[in-house]
């Protein structure tokens, strides 16, 4: 579903402060795979995710999503396949727009934003049903501005928003980093449920090794812009939490 072919990325190229963020990485992610990426700060995890999302472009190599060469495509063009959840709960939603308006925009992620009114009675009902899954009793607050909700609520809603329109790839960039343990748990459970229910190919970046152990079908450890470990399938299942902890000692 996602294929990276000898992808290379250098920041501040040609200057004294040049950093090789991604060093000739090749990576294939099969449809339905749930990849967890771990690694210390500066190992290139977020850069990798931004390259897949199209927020930044590669210096060399190519990127394919669902068989399409997206190497030169901007982030808003790749949104046809890719939905994202950001580390900062503020980035994934528009605070001054109501919940329903945010959901409307998410529901037409892959489509044209035209000159008709999309927030209809039917649409409201559909959103209400989707939000009810969260069990946060937000389904009766559709007109409330997104900014009045807590970080955990916003992050959970962002997850539901990502499956409002056809979605093949879900990119999660430390979605729980800014949340308290309980909200973090709710968000991770919701993410896991949606990924399974909608058979999404997903990439999760996390510093939480417990989540890395608990979730995902494949784990990748990055170091200095390269892939250090890549464990999938039954081998991932056999990993113990301690082993993952030991990678970082």
């Amino acid at each position: 579903m996602i294929a990276l072919n000898t992808v290379h990325k250098v920041f501040n190229k040609g200057k004294a402060s040049a950093v090789t963020a991604i060093n000739n990485i090749s990576l294939n992610i099969a449809p339905g795979e749930f990849v967890v990426v771990v690694g210390s700060n500066g190992s290139g995890k977020t850069t990798l995710l931004n390259l897949v999302a199209g927020s930044i472009f590669t210096d060399a190599g190519s990127i394919h999503i669902d068989g399409n060469d997206v190497t030169r495509m901007a982030d808003h063009q790749r949104s046809k396949w890719v939905a994202r959840v950001f580390q900062n709960p503020l980035s994934g939603t528009a605070p001054d727009l109501s919940i329903i308006d945010n959901f409307r925009l998410a529901a037409i992620r892959t489509q044209r934003k035209g000159l008709s009114i999309g927030v209809t009675g039917n649409f409201r009902e559909k959103v209400r049903q989707h939000i009810a899954i969260l069990g946060m009793s937000l389904e009766n607050k559709l007109e409330q501005p997104m900014g009045t909700l807590s970080g955990g609520q916003r992050q959970a809603l962002t997850l539901v928003m990502s499956v409002m329109d056809s979605c093949k790839v879900l990119l999660l960039d430390e979605p729980t980093a800014a949340l308290d343990p309980r909200s973090a748990d709710t968000v991770m459970r919701t993410a896991d449920k949606l990924i399974h229910d909608f058979k999404l190919t997903s990439v999760l970046i996390t510093h939480n090794l417990k989540d890395a152990y608990q979730y995902g079908s494949r784990i990748i450890q990055m170091n200095e812009g390269a892939i250090l470990r890549d464990i999938s399938g039954d081998d991932k299942g056999r990993l113990s939490q301690n082993e993952i902890f030991n990678w970082f000692s």
Binding site: H76, S79, R104, K113
Partner: protein, 288 residues
Amino acid sequence: MDFYLTALLQGLCFSGIALGIYISMKIFNIPDITTDGSYTLGGVVTAILLTHQQPVYIVLPAVILAGALAGAITGLIHTRLKVNPLLAGILVMTALYSVNLTLMGRSNIPLVGSKTLFDKLPLLADPNQNTGIILSMVVLLITLLIGYLLKTDFGLAMRATGNSETMIRALGVNTNSMKIAGLALANGLIALSSYLMTQFQGFADINMGIGIVITGLGSVIIAETIINWLRITSAWLSLALVIAGAIAFQMVLAVTLSIGVDANLLKLVTAVFVLLIVSLPRLSFNKN
């Protein structure tokens, strides 16, 4: 009384500026001061076409298009060349001064002998009432159009562009094109405002746009203060308040003049008035 009637009519003329500034400043979060140039441009195009006896269905689209073009250029400079939007606006505004002067060929074009919109539509016998009713209809029409637009999917994408750019890009919107479209729309409205004003006052002047941006800012800030006070979320009501703001702003100026303040001090009074409205919520907050 005539004094206040004129202020009311001027306020209606300036509604387009208020809506334009509302779109660029409040919805897109871009401080756009192309306004001074695009307003004059609208007046210039109106005067030239009217003195060449062109019909309304040519003049009006031409004026809006001219304003939109000016806004789009500011948008292009800002998004494609990554120039600070304030500077981009200043550059276009400055350049437009020469463009306007060249188009006019002189510094003032009177509309003597040309039939204005108000002459062509004699709905009421009293000329002032006639002007009032026509202006009200035009303002109502554009308010309805903008209000509808903001509720559409495109409008939502517009609002999200100014509110959370990372989010709306991830949802498939090219924010650069959106900003260009937004600035075009805003300046189109500003030119429309000038179309009305030029016909109302009966001439276009090269200096008619100087400092006009403050009229829009003042109107929007009056509206904004009330919106925050009463916690209004309705888009329709917000737009109506912006229009009311434009009228209130002209009323305040009329009062200022009627109590005998020197007309030369009008811009100073305007600036102080806007400063007052901006700082009023904070001043009262400090007391608490």
